[in-house]
């Protein structure tokens, strides 16, 4: 009986070791490191296996998009402030309120279109498979932006 128990224990240790090693080696270490560091550019590079040229092109796209992003951001803020001020004003009419709401909604829609177009341009720089996977990850989140958390990553190109 003691040999049975010892053998069961040995098999369990063997299986545990195999499971642990499989867990540790189950993903690309570079991707894991980028994810652990919350380094978005490193993640893009490793997870989508970008070549140097692809990475440089996407970095350039991010650089140029950050200017556009800044403009959209400012326009939304101005519109939201105007809407808030109008809502706080007792004499504000419903037509005026509806108009500013429409303005904010239109800006948000324009933003959604702009960011979707931006990620599509980024995807176009990747290999077809990587681009599809990238779009599959980001496009649903763009459409569902209210669920996005506060940015807490190192996206060094973006200087908002």
């Amino acid at each position: 009986m003691k040999h049975l128990h010892a053998t069961i224990a040995a098999v369990a240790v063997l299986a545990g070791t195999a499971g642990f090693l499989s867990f540790r080696m189950g993903a690309d270490p570079a991707v894991k490191a980028a994810l652990a560091k919350q380094d978005a550019m490193a993640w893009l590079r490793t997870d989508f296996q970008l070549t140097d040229a692809q990475f440089a092109a996407i970095r350039k796209l991010h650089d140029s998009y950050s200017i556009e992003c800044e403009e959209h951001c400012r326009a939304i803020q101005v519109a939201v402030r105007a809407r808030n001020a109008l809502k706080a004003a007792p004499e504000a009419g419903s037509d005026a309120l509806a108009a500013v709401d429409r303005r904010v909604a239109a800006l948000r829609l324009a933003c959604e279109s702009a960011i979707a177009a931006h990620v599509r341009r980024c995807a176009a720089e990747m290999s077809p498979e990587a681009g599809q996977r990238y779009l599959g990850l980001v496009l649903p989140k763009i459409r569902d932006f209210d669920h996005l958390a506060a940015p807490d990553l190192q996206l060094n190109l973006h200087k908002h």
Binding site: F23, R24, C69
Partner: protein, 102 residues
Amino acid sequence: MNTSDPNDPLSRTLAAWRVAPPPDPNFRAAAWRRIARANRDTWAAYLRAHVAGWSAAAALAVVAASWAGHAAAQAKLDADRERMVVSYLGAIDPRVMAKLRP
């Protein structure tokens, strides 16, 4: 106490005592049987005796554990990737930035 005194009756009795046991014809076979049983009682011998069963069990356990480890690694990677996508988009989405700015 000196027990080797030749005048001591006990010493003389013991010196004269001879044991002549009847020969056991099965002694050698019994000894080998005991040796074989002792050999079988080691873990290595147990494993040798059940090598097929335990090999299959060990292979099955290793495969299952490896699959589970790989699945867990993928699940963790997917969760980390999901968080990364959210953070990534949060940093390039003007709507999020506009919300966050005072």
